[in-house]
């Protein structure tokens, strides 16, 4: 008997009005997989990630997390233990010092009293220190978060995930607002940390190169459907150029 998959989707569909954003998606993702989600913009990557994070109910189909329906994740604590989310750099509370933004990963575990206390006297500080050390920001612990560069802010977000320790990490375009070198740094770090922590990662990406270099499996979406779903070494350049071809023309047409 194969182990229970982390995610199992059967014929998942989502509509916005008349238009279908996702139509009849089916796949499973096993524990420890590092999956890249690629495809042209508007292909439905964000919608799919929102469904996986249980924030958006699908209109059709069945969806299991760990073999159970989503509704079994009742408390926010359970959900935070299962799923961690990272998006673009604007996800942090800018005026707060870095350390509070890191420790926010513990809020689901803490009692209300403990979280109030931590505002004045940091709780679980070693945890935050250790996480910041692992992302190379130990000396910025008391810095105002808004003063950090975009890449540093994303590393703070990674440190938050280290403190939260979810089983699965869902990353929605985590590096789309960074320059290429910084983006590769962050993705490399994210994948490394996920492997060290034995977590499962699903990340949507703009860059095919990063997907091929760091991930083990690629799911390509186009027009709300799976274009291909292959281990990374079986993806051909032909498939990739087909994936983006028509959309590029459409985007060009829209610009003019």
């Amino acid at each position: 008997m194969s182990p229970t998959p982390v995610f199992e989707l059967k014929n998942i569909s989502k509509y916005y009005g008349e238009v279908s954003s996702l139509s009849s998606l089916s796949f499973r993702i096993d524990r420890g997989e590092v999956v890249a989600l690629i495809g042209p913009s508007g292909a439905g990557k964000t919608t799919l990630l929102n469904i996986l994070s249980a924030m958006l109910p699908p209109d059709d189909g069945t969806f299991f997390i760990d073999g159970k329906p989503v509704s079994s994740l009742t408390s926010r604590r359970q959900r935070a233990r299962k799923l961690g989310i990272i998006r673009q750099q604007f996800d942090l509370v800018g005026p707060l010092p870095v350390v509070h933004n890191v420790l926010a990963g513990r809020l689901g575990e803490w009692s209300l009293f403990k979280s109030l206390l931590s505002y004045l006297f940091l709780q679980d500080k070693e945890l935050a220190m250790h996480a910041l050390h692992r992302v190379g920001l130990k000396d910025k612990i008391y810095e105002k978060t808004a003063h950090l560069s975009g890449g540093e802010q994303q590393r703070v977000a990674l440190a938050r995930l280290l403190v939260q320790k979810p089983e699965v990490i869902l990353a929605d375009e985590p590096v789309s607002s960074l320059d290429p070198a910084r983006a590769e740094d962050i993705i490399g770090m994210l994948v490394r940390l996920v492997k060290e922590e034995n977590q499962t990662l699903i990340a949507s990406l703009h860059s095919v190169d990063l997907a091929r270099k760091y991930f083990t499996r690629i799911i390509a979406l186009r027009d709300g459907q799976i274009f291909f779903d292959l281990p990374v070494d079986q993806v051909t350049s032909q498939q990739l150029s087909d994936l983006y071809k028509i959309m590029e023309m459409k985007e060009d047409a829209e610009v003019c």
């Binding site: 926010r76 935070a80 989310i85 800018g94 005026p95 926010a104 809020l107 689901g108 209300l112 979280s115």
Partner: protein, 288 residues
């Protein structure tokens, strides 16, 4: 000049209808008001500059400067000490006033934000949130539309003269202004960090402490300090109706024709205004 400016904007916008209407309305209002003042109220600008009036004005200015006055107040230590005490009283009144209005604002501002009322802020909605939102917004409009002095006139019927009624009157007016400004800050809040906190497992109170409060705080403090500057300027006015401080003394000195004392009070008032502008600017920079 106004006409030209209006014309410029009118031709560059897509929908000139409302702007053209506003322009016409403005011109009509200005013309009608001046006609009313000059012909119905028969106020004559030239009459102001009549021989008699100029003589009177000169006398008034001279006696304010202490020329020909036997014991000008600004040479008396006692008057200075009195003015100093009143300035201090006025300062305390302004702090009480801003404090009261901030308390009122903090208690009402969250339900007065449109994004709380429709449930997007806390990701939860109650059936009565719309109603509470409407009631508080009406209170804000009411509180802000009535000037401080009118509030003071009403309040003074309840409180005995002193700095408290002045502070309450100032607070009643500024409560609505601060409430409106701060509710807009919450409405313009970046929701992304809040959703992110929620996905890390934070509950409502935790989102409030680690998300909403830190993000709105700098802007709240900036607005509060700005309003404090305005309150300092206005303290003298509520004093006119017996609400204490420099204003009350100003009124007394005016009615006893002690014009050098009036000058002294005005100097103290001016120094207080300049000083508070300076302090407020310093604090605003510290918050950023």
């Amino acid at each position: 000049m106004n006409a030209q400016v209006e014309h410029e904007t009118k031709t560059t916008r897509r929908r000139p209808g409302f702007i053209a209407f506003s322009f016409l309305l403005a011109v009509t209002l200005i013309a009608a008001s001046w006609i009313y003042i000059l012909f119905v109220e028969e106020a004559s600008l030239f009459a102001l500059f009549s021989e008699k009036n100029l003589e009177h004005t000169r006398e008034f200015l001279f006696s304010m400067m202490g020329i020909g006055v036997e014991e000008p107040a600004f040479f008396s230590k006692e008057s200075w000490m009195n003015a100093l005490r009143l300035t201090y009283e006025t300062l305390v009144m302004s702090i009480l006033a801003i404090g009261f209005s901030v308390i009122g604002m903090v208690l009402t501002v969250i339900p007065a934000s449109a994004n709380y009322a429709d449930g997007t802020l806390m990701l939860a909605k109650k059936w009565y949130s719309r109603l509470v939102y409407g009631v508080i917004r009406i209170l804000y409009v009411f509180s802000r539309a009535v000037p401080e002095l009118i509030w003071a006139m009403l309040i003074i019927f309840i409180f005995k003269p002193g700095i408290l009624p002045g502070a309450v009157a100032l607070a009643l007016h500024n409560f609505g202004i601060l409430g409106k400004l701060c509710a807009e800050v919450i409405e313009d809040l970046d929701m992304r960090p809040i959703r992110s906190l929620a996905s890390s497992g934070a509950g409502k109170t935790q989102i409030l402490i680690y998300g909403i409060i830190p993000m709105v705080m700098p802007k709240f403090i900036t607005y509060i300090l700005y309003r404090w500057e305005v309150i300092i300027r206005t303290t003298i006015v509520v004093g006119f109706v017996g609400a204490g401080g420099l204003g009350q003394q100003f009124k007394l000195s005016m009615s006893w024709f002690h014009y050098t004392e009036v000058t002294l009070l005005l100097i103290s008032y001016f120094i207080l205004v300049v000083l508070s502008d300076f302090i407020s600017e310093m604090l605003r920079k510290a918050v950023q």
